[in-house]
Symmetry: C2
Subunit: 228 residues, 2 copies
């Protein structure tokens, strides 16, 4: 999702690599292309957010939304990650990772087994969103990330709910994508081995929506759910 | 996968909660049940592994295998996480997280939108596997985690490949699961709102295997792929 306030028409087409976004191996799989990064992020709504608490790493699954060059991550004001972030001044170092697995890759050798995947890793400093207008945009983006259009067909958060909601922001700045595609890379001397080799594509999809028991049967399935 | 050497017949049925495995909110979703934890881990093969490097968190997607109460994570000896772990003595604090998303949960209010999910978070100290027999078991477990039975139908790693492979071990000790199921939890005062409410189940599966171009057509699709 794009939002004019946060997207510059003159943004360069690539993110600038840094020491920690350049992998030490499989460098050919790394990319800093902005459109690729956006497309990987926009194809998901769940990320794994890492932060450090008492010197040890913590990795939690959580929902996010993208608005231009900003990611928003949702939480409760009472939850541990959000309390940790609010206690950090001026912000908390985080690492946010999004991964799609596209296929299992079966080589003739155990060593060359792999996955086809697309991932994005974002390093940065998370800050809490306090501006009411930005908070509204952020919350809409998180709902719409999973179900595009849904934020316009739900009751917006009221004051009490907003007070119980914390949203953190992470700017897309130190970012890399990593992509593996294609078939197995067997060693030449293994080609005559009798083992099946190839890929097993993975499928993902949405099943038919299941209405809540208390939904008025007159409310049909909205178009934005058919479009999923 | 169970391995006699690492599974005690007298293991208690639950992991012991600790300060960092007891959530500060939604405690009713947390579980320490060993069978539940195993079932969530056994239904996946990709985890997000978090560690701390230069004081900042790093979260990387990677494959794993479970053998009894041990998780094995695969890497290259030249990769940054594995180098970081080998440089840490006696081991590196990590957090390993596995998440299944089962359904989108659409409430009448934006605030109560959620996901149905099952996740496991493991905290602990990762060590590198050096024993040759354990290394073989670990590598087989990682291949079999994604495709049960495949390790017996592939050329095992040779000495050169073993030297280029690093496997880290993380014991299942400080572990929790978190599960959300069911429909939306709308506020009573929202029940008359006109918005569709319910869940959208998510589907995952394997498509038909695609043989490599150089595979002898006489090699048919093995039973363990049909069974996926």
């Amino acid at each position: 999702m794009r939002h004019p306030a946060t997207t510059s028409a003159t943004a360069p087409s690539s993110y600038t690599p840094t020491d920690r976004t350049v992998p030490t191996r499989s460098r050919e799989r790394a990319s800093y292309d902005r459109e690729l990064v956006h497309s990987i992020l926009d194809g998901a709504y769940l990320c794994h957010l890492g932060f450090v608490r008492d010197g040890a790493p913590v990795v939690l699954p959580t929902m996010y939304g993208r608005v231009g060059e900003r990611l928003y991550v949702h939480g409760s004001t009472g939850s541990r990650p959000l309390r940790t972030i609010r206690a950090a001044d001026p912000g908390l170092p985080v690492c946010l990772t999004v991964t799609h697995v596209d296929a299992l890759v079966l080589a003739r050798s155990a060593f060359h087994h792999s996955l086809n995947y697309r991932s994005v890793v974002v390093h940065g400093t998370a800050t809490t969103v306090t501006d009411p207008e930005e908070l509204r945009i952020a919350l809409d983006s998180i709902v719409d990330q999973a179900v595009p259009g849904r934020s316009q067909d739900a009751r917006p958060a009221n004051a009490k709910e907003l007070a119980a909601t914390a949203v953190i922001r992470l700017d897309l700045d130190e970012v890399s994508a990593k992509v593996r595609t294609g078939g197995p890379n067997d060693e030449p001397e293994d080609l005559a081995l009798p083992h099946w080799t190839g890929i097993v594509p993975l499928t993902r999809g949405h099943a038919r929506p299941v209405p809540a028991d208390d939904l008025d049967p007159a409310v049909g399935i909205p178009d934005y759910l058919h479009a999923l």
